[in-house]
Amino acid sequence: MTDALLSVRNLSVAFTTYGRTQPVLHGVSLDVPARSHVALVGESGSGKTVTMKSIMGLLHMPPASISSGAILYDGRDLLTMPRRERLKLTGTDMSMVFQDPMSSLNPVFTIADQMSTILKYADKRLGRSRSRRQRMDRVLEVLGQVRMREPERVARSYPIMLSGGMRQRVLIAMALLSEPRLLIADEPGTALDVTTQAQILKLLKDLVEERGLALLMITHNLGVVRETSDYVYVMHKGKVVEEAPTAELFAAPKVAYTRALIDAVPRLTGARPTQRMEAAP
């Protein structure tokens, strides 16, 4: 399994608040081979977002601290490589789709502004260069790729002028800007209504398949897992409690926790959860 594109090894993370240290991840391991579609599923608070943030280098340290483990990307440990090297990967080669389209876009800048800023600094990190015009072309191109009907108009818009579904597409487009090989999606579309969420998931799946990207889909909803992933890790209280190919997991869950999760799947897959899943830490 060392040939996996992304390999999290025995990762332990703790948070220190008010002088008390609380472990949150206890030796999490998971593999995402190139071009594979892997899901990480678990109830709210089980540590999925913390795992994602560790991978993407988004943990604020302190209060967080990584007590042990390694995160290998292309065989190189992200945790020990120089910061500059790591920054060349995150946001470019490994990229992510944010969950909440309402709050993940800056309200006071246009979509074009936000996207071309991301592209500009991604280019800079990678030592590439593009003219302003070329950056804009790329932004419009990617907006087209996420099936946006009028890319120019969307690019000129402020987030408040777009619907939730359109904003979620913009978030996906942002992730695709620098042609990543790995896409991490943390509960994409959970803030949207059921139909739009289904469309977004379909779009994500199509895009990933078209371009042969690896996908790490983070969700609390096993219905989403069944639709998007080939392999599943089940997470509970900061530990991976079960892993299996998707079909196997649904057919014969080994642990009681997984069974409970499966029983909780609404009949109509992708149905909206009744409570909002997590507060962003």
């Binding site: 988004l58 709050s103 800056n106 309200p107 006071v108």
Partner: protein, 341 residues
């Protein structure tokens, strides 16, 4: 389009506020015990003199009619005549207003240019030493009475260090008068007089700092809490994930959405800034509206007092309209929705 409608609505409300203000002021000035003409002329004046002045200024007419005249005058920008000198109040205020305007503009400039970055610094290093330093500076500048700070600056810069002049607006017998806009700093540039510009700046510095301190402290505090608010938003986290460098994130993505609260407070606190300008002008013998206002008040020249209060009110309302415009420019949500929140 929505934004235009928003601005238009604000302008209309502002007019209403001014009408209300004129009523309040008129009631205070007219409905009090005593006769304005008698008050102005003093106990030694004869009955005929008083009646004469009353007639001249329309004080013998019914109160509603008086208010009508007052409002009609205001609509033409006419504040009536001084009870004492019988000079038009307009002329007196015009002569002094430019000096006050220059002081207040310089004050706002200093307060924003120092206060906002201090707030950003404090928010960026939240709970670390720069934050603590800024908080202490902000608290002290907010609680130091303007007149006291003015005195301290006078002692320090004028008497101890001998670096800056402590009274007036330009050196005595200086052969330059601001004739275009009334603002020394601008008129000296128009007239190509760098020496006058420098002198004007030297004289302006201390009063402006004394007046700016309180507002600067507020700006710093509010920018800080607003930045901290914004820094925990998802979109800041997202820009981090996409590798937007830290300084761009702080100075662009965080700063701009943080601007509305400090701007709003600047507008609301503007009234107390004008009030403080009165004392600061007095300490530095700044030839502004304050000296005029206080003189007329002590002389019980009610028409002039009404004029001073009205002009302060108009000033407040105009500044707030400019702020509405700025808020719209900074925050597209206001532009698009046509309302603040």
């Amino acid at each position: 389009m929505e934004f235009l409608r928003f601005l238009l609505r604000r302008v209309l409300w502002s007019l209403l506020v001014l009408v209300g203000l004129s009523m309040v002021i008129f009631i205070i000035a007219r409905a009090v015990p005593g006769d304005p003409a008698r008050m102005a002329l003093g106990p030694t004046a004869t009955q005929e003199q008083v009646a004469d002045l009353q007639k001249k200024l329309g004080l013998d007419r019914p109160i509603v009619q008086q208010y009508g005249l007052f409002i009609a005058g205001l609509a033409h920008g006419d504040l009536g005549r001084s009870l004492l000198t019988e000079r038009p109040v307009n002329d007196d205020i015009r002569d002094t207003f430019a000096a006050t305007l220059e002081l207040v503009l310089a004050t706002i400039f200093i307060a924003v240019v120092l206060g906002v970055p201090l707030g950003v610094v404090a928010a960026y290093w939240k709970d670390r030493w720069p934050d603590n330093v800024v908080r202490i500076v902000a608290i002290f500048s907010a609680v130091t009475p303007s007149f006291f700070l003015a005195l301290l600056l006078q002692i320090l810069a004028g008497y101890v260090l001998h670096i800056l002049p402590t009274t007036g607006r330009l050196p005595p017998n200086f052969d330059f008068a601001p004739t275009h806009t009334g603002l020394v700093l601008i008129d000296s540039l128009i007239a190509l007089r760098p020496d006058a510009f420098l002198e004007g700046l030297r004289y302006l510095l201390l009063p402006a700092i004394a007046l700016a301190a309180a507002t600067m402290g507020q700006m710093a505090r509010i920018t800080r809490s607003s930045m901290i608010d914004v820094s925990s938003q998802d979109y800041i986290e997202a820009s981090r994930a996409f590798g937007v460098p830290e300084w761009v994130r702080v100075c662009k993505y965080m700063l701009r959405p943080s601007f509305v609260p400090p701007l709003t407070i600047l507008g609301l606190e503007f009234a107390s800034l004008i009030g403080n300008a009165f004392v600061v002008e007095l300490v530095f013998a700044w030839p502004g509206m304050a000296a005029y206002g206080i003189r007329t008040i002590l002389q019980k020249d009610l028409n002039a007092v009404m004029g001073v209060v009205m002009v302060s009110g108009v000033f407040f309302v105009l500044v707030n309209l400019v702020i509405d415009l700025l808020v719209g420019l900074v925050d597209p949500r206001v532009r698009i929705r046509g309302s603040r929140q």
